[in-house]
């Protein structure tokens, strides 16, 4: 009965979304206030319906109701309770329901926190979100109904993919989806502005905090995914350039460009049409990611079960949403005034240059992801665009990005001169060059040019931002002024600094791991010892063990640094009762400056095991950098300007200014 209730709630959500997509928009165009006023209740209503549907599915999972097809294929009665819950988004149907639920959550949040926005803007934004939701709900109901019944009812479910039975992966998809669908808010604001013909600084100020929050979620989602791949896939890599990973990286890159471009539009009124385009792209790439993962167009390690009918549906949906918004853009954007002028040496220029680098990188990732398709379509023969190609592209662009981040943060808006910049940054530059030289000394660099380059770039980011902070504080006497700065309007500044330092931390992590990691395949008998990177690994043997839904061989290692025992590690090789390939559970001794990582390969007879030992210096810094970026984003959105901006947003001056900009 409850699954049917969920199904009905889904249908009601679709109806609400369809009404939401049409009436408030029509009202805003014809000046019909009651229709515009429907926007908020409809947004709440859609969220409520989807929450009911989601709760119904959750109930089916938690009670192991295998009469529901989706539950029977993605769960099992032996599954621990927590994984029964996370199994809701372990497959295509449920993850799509989660996606729509989160999107309607963003819609409800916009409705709740937009009290001071002009009614017409709110109506249009919520309508656009209704349109996107309508498409997704149709998709869900027509091709991927999670409530479909199964008869006869199987006695047991097929089990959740063992790879997904992990706390990291239980939270990774919700975070990632929050980021993906969060960009729908920026998208809706952009389209609403295009429809209303009001692309002004106020529009940028409204959508900025939303976009930053979405970006923070996406950043955390990607970090979690990378961390999960590192410890769960059992071979120590942290990024694989897999199509699914690329699908999350592309919106992140464009989203990063977008939050910077929004800053320019808000502060200087420039880049308006470019910012709108980025807002459209960021969400479009999220949608494209969904298409690539769920259509079976590309092969991937984590592709969902694919179905051509679904692929076709998403493609048509993609055409309507992206094609429609780009057509709207082509129609409306030429009317947009270009806005504030700026000189060649200015923060605007630096941000524009970095924007282009981010977009260029996103385009390269898109090309690399689709390369097999492109080559096949044009019959150019075969191609291998793999790991090395992506790495090369990343290394070709990243240094310029890093240099520009430092320059851009120190440059003034509108007009700056090289002399002033030089006087300001010479020390930071000199210190980074010193790092470059020291790291390049024989014996320090490990024989690789990238070590000094990477460390110097990180140093440049650090020193350039310290300079920028000092410059800001020079006019503020004493720590009281600093505290006041942090309480007042300074948070977005310090958020920026923190996020940029995150880039430095990330660069250090990548540089150290890629150049100084050590790994070895070994065969060990119980009692054997093996040395790697100065650590001695002693293998004491394996024992049989079992979990709630798996059996495992568990190895026991002691790791010594000299004579001192620093860790005991217990890597496992698990066979899940639901079947499938055996899973490797790596054992990791984690540290800020190095990880020691042991993964069990296979039993090779006589108690001997094939093993893989890793030494991973600074690997945590990769994720720590991402965490810094996310924290920076959070700090920035708590800036007082947004709180007061919200109160100011609807002031007559703004509206008049907007009208003037339009005319």
């Amino acid at each position: 009965m409850i699954p049917e209730l969920g199904h009905v709630a889904l249908i009601l959500a679709l109806i609400v979304a369809a009404v939401q997509a049409s009436f408030p928009l029509a009202g805003s165009l014809s000046g019909n206030r009651p229709w515009m006023a429907m926007a908020r209740p409809l947004a709440y209503g859609q969220f409520t319906m989807l929450a009911i549907a989601f709760a119904a599915l959750a109930e089916a999972f938690l009670t192991s109701d295998f009469s529901v097809l989706y539950v029977a294929t993605n769960s099992n009665s032996l599954l621990p309770q927590i994984y029964k819950f996370s199994a809701i988004w372990g497959g295509h149907e449920g993850s799509l329901l989660l996606w729509v639920l989160l999107m309607s959550g963003w819609g409800a949040a916009v409705a709740a926190f937009s009290k001071n926005l002009p009614q017409g803007v709110v109506a249009r934004v919520i309508s656009v979100q209704g349109m996107v939701a309508t498409g997704f709900l149709l998709f869900l109901l027509l091709t991927s109904n999670p409530f479909e019944r199964l008869f006869p009812v199987p006695p047991e479910g097929r089990d959740l993919n063992p790879l997904l039975q992990d706390p990291g992966l239980a939270v990774h998809p919700p975070m990632l989806y929050m980021g993906y669908v969060g960009f729908s808010v920026a998208f809706a604001f952009a389209l609403a502005a295009l429809i209303g013909g009001r692309l002004d600084a106020a529009w940028a100020r409204w959508s900025r905090p939303w976009t930053t929050v979405a970006w923070v979620f996406l950043t955390i989602g990607i970090v979690l995914g990378s961390w999960w791949a590192y410890y769960e896939l059992g071979w120590g890599g942290w990024w694989f350039w897999d199509p699914v990973e690329n699908a999350s990286l592309m919106p992140w890159l464009v989203g990063t460009a977008l939050i910077h471009s929004l800053a320019v539009t808000e502060k200087r009124g420039a880049f308006k049409s470019w910012t709108v385009l980025l807002a459209i792209f960021a969400f479009s790439l999220s949608l494209l990611g969904t298409f690539l993962v769920r259509s079976g167009v590309l092969t991937s390690v984590h592709a969902f079960a694919t179905d051509p009918a679904r692929g076709l549906f998403i493609l048509i949906f993609l055409c309507i949403v992206i094609g429609g918004s780009l057509a709207l853009y082509a129609w409306r954007a030429p009317e947009v005034s270009e806005g504030g002028r700026f000189d060649l040496i200015s923060r605007e220029s630096a941000l524009l240059a970095n924007n282009l680098l981010f977009v260029a990188f996103a385009v390269l990732v898109l090309f690399g992801t689709l390369a097999p398709l492109i080559y096949e379509a044009f019959d150019w023969g075969k191609i291998s665009v793999g790991f090395p190609w992506f790495n090369k592209m990343f290394l070709a662009l990243a240094p310029f990005m890093a240099v520009l981040i430092g320059v851009g943060s120190a440059t003034r808006w509108k007009h700056d001169d090289l002399l002033r910049l030089g006087r300001m940054l010479w020390l930071a530059l000199a210190l980074s060059i010193a790092v470059l030289v020291i790291a390049a000394l024989p014996g320090m660099d490990g024989g690789n040019l990238w070590v000094p380059v990477g460390l110097a770039l990180a140093a440049w980011l650090l020193f350039a931002h310290l300079t920028v902070v000092r410059d800001r504080l020079r006019h503020k006497a004493g720590w009281r002024a600093w505290v006041a700065d942090l309480r007042g309007n300074g948070r977005s500044f310090y958020g920026m600094v923190l996020a940029h330092l995150g880039v430095a931390v990330f660069i250090v992590g990548v540089t150290m791991v890629m150049n100084f990691q050590q790994e070895e395949d070994v065969r060990m008998s119980p009692g054997d010892s093996h040395e790697l990177a100065g650590y001695r690994f002693e293998f004491l043997g394996t024992e049989k063990t079992s979990g709630p839904n798996y059996r495992a061989d568990r190895g026991h290692f002691k790791v010594f640094d000299g004579d001192r025992r620093i860790a005991e590690l217990y890597p496992e090789k698990r066979s899940y009762l639901g079947g499938g390939m055996p899973m490797t559970e790596a054992a990791i001794d984690a540290g800020l400056f190095r990880d020691i990582y042991v993964s069990l390969g296979e039993s090779v007879g006589g108690g001997d095991w094939a093993l893989r030992l890793y030494y991973k210096p600074y690997v945590r810094w990769i994720w720590l950098g991402g965490v810094f970026m996310a924290l920076g984003g959070i700090l920035a959105v708590t800036d007082r300007r947004y709180r007061t901006a919200r109160a100011r947003a609807a002031s007559p001056a703004d509206v008049a200014g907007a009208a003037a900009a339009r005319a």
């Binding site: 076709l312 993609l318 030429p334 075969k382």
Partner: protein
């Protein structure tokens, strides 16, 4: 001028249209299949040193007269490690030979890995620079080509061979080829 300016704003739409055309094409093809030009064609000619004994060589002539599974692998590839156990089981079967194509790999690392985990292959062509892999249309590892007794490529499996792939796809195909030959 005004005209040229508004045309500029159409560029994103045009690019998107091209992308859609590509994706429509993509929907009609199955990425797990070999690009059609290769299937039903003789395996591309090649001659490479044997990984385990560089004095010997492996060539397309070795594919004639026997059913062959040509498995593309590398020591850096995690899915290949997962597949290794299935390959060990397959190496016991008499109906076909298992030929490795060690792809974009470091010879010493690959040999080291095999000495630890065991060598399922009858012979292994060593292709560190992707000279042969590119002719075979290798996109990633692992991939497995099924080549019949006449040296014709009949099927390409992308991704690891597990029990399901073996029982549902490869085993019936090998049985069919055996009956043909």
């Amino acid at each position: 001028m005004a005209m040229a300016k508004s045309v500029r704003y159409l560029i994103p739409l045009v690019i998107f249209a091209a992308l859609v055309a590509l994706l429509v094409f993509g929907l009609g093809t199955d990425p797990r299949e070999v690009p059609s030009p290769l299937i039903g064609k003789p395996a591309p000619q090649f001659r490479l040193p044997d990984l385990t004994d560089p004095a010997r060589s492996v060539s397309d002539a070795d594919l004639k007269g026997k059913i062959s599974l040509v498995n593309v692998w590398a020591s850096w590839c995690s899915a290949c490690r997962a597949e290794h156990q299935s390959l060990m089981a397959l190496s016991e079967m008499p109906d076909f030979q298992l030929i490795g194509l060690n792809w974009k790999d470091e010879g010493s690392t690959a040999r080291q890995l095999l000495s630890v985990t065991g060598n399922p292959y009858d012979m292994i062509a060593y292709d560190p620079d992707n000279t042969v892999g590119i002719n075979w249309g290798v996109y990633g590892a692992p991939e497995t080509f099924v080549v019949d007794q006449k040296g014709i490529i009949r099927y390409k499996q992308i991704g690891p061979i597990d029990r399901q792939v073996w029982e549902e796809t490869l085993q019936p195909l090998v049985a069919k080829l055996k009956a043909e030959g």
